[in-house]
């Protein structure tokens, strides 16, 4: 396979899952009241090549406007608490200085599509939230009560990003009831 350079160009590399990019800018909603929910699917990809074709043409987090959310979720899982697969789940969150999340966002995406997590079946997707003072990346998972799986994912994610702060896992159900008062259920 040393002569593979040419072949690599022409044969797409299939991913284990198809993934959908979603864009949301809730702060723009007032201007476009008729939208209802402002979250929209952008494109569903299923090969390594398609991933790059999209990624290379879209804004990375540092170029998105404040208020924007950009998601990458497994095909057919909607990035919403109400989604039946997300409903019993939760999320790990990492926090970055304003404009400093691009590399971690890319590494998160590559870990997802490359199936680098031991408990990859537990993962729904990832989202980057661009806010006035900071960027946040969250990794959404399915079964919040499966502590061992969540801790494994949290620890592996930190290693992949070389992220040294403690991260917390919040259960969607708690966030729904308590909003910002929701406490971390797990830490890694």
């Amino acid at each position: 396979s040393r002569q593979s350079t040419a072949a690599v160009v022409h044969q797409p590399h299939p991913l284990e899952h198809s993934w959908t990019f979603w864009f949301d800018n809730p702060s723009a909603k007032s201007k476009q009241a008729a939208w209802g929910s402002s979250i929209r699917p952008i494109y569903t990809f299923s090969t390594v090549e398609e991933f790059w074709s999209i990624y290379n043409n879209i804004h990375h987090p540092s170029k998105l406007t404040v208020g924007a959310d950009f998601h990458c979720f497994k095909y057919k899982i909607e990035p919403k608490w109400e989604d039946p697969i997300c409903a019993n789940g939760g999320k790990w969150t990492t926090i970055f200085q304003k404009g400093k999340s691009d590399t971690s966002w890319l590494y998160t995406l590559l870990a997802l599509i490359g199936e680098q997590f031991d408990n990859g079946d537990e993962i729904c997707g990832a989202v980057v939230n661009v806010r006035a003072r900071q960027d946040k990346i969250a990794l959404w998972t399915k079964n919040a009560s499966n502590e061992a799986a969540q801790l494994s994912i949290g620890k592996q994610w930190k290693e992949l990003l070389d992220y040294n702060e403690t991260i917390g896992f919040i259960i969607h159900e708690d966030a729904k009831k308590l909003d910002r008062g929701a406490k971390d259920r797990y830490k890694a």
Binding site: E16, R40, F45, V48, E50, Y55, N56, I58, G114
Partner: protein, 60 residues
């Protein structure tokens, strides 16, 4: 080589970060079937993308 085989003959498509990054420079054009509605194109797309992919209708 880039596939992991779990012994059951089922291939899990695992790709390392270094392997995936090799493909970045080869894939600069949007997929032919890519469409984005005009009202969010500017917010989502980087400056130099091919504007023939913009559609006027709402995506709903």
């Amino acid at each position: 080589d880039n596939y992991d085989n779990d012994g059951d003959g089922i291939t899990a498509k695992k790709y390392s970060r270094d392997f995936l990054i090799k493909f970045s420079e080869q894939c600069t054009d949007l997929p032919e079937d890519f469409e984005i509605s005009a009202d969010i194109a500017e917010a989502v797309m980087s400056a130099n993308f091919n504007s023939s992919h913009i559609v006027e209708r709402d995506s709903y």
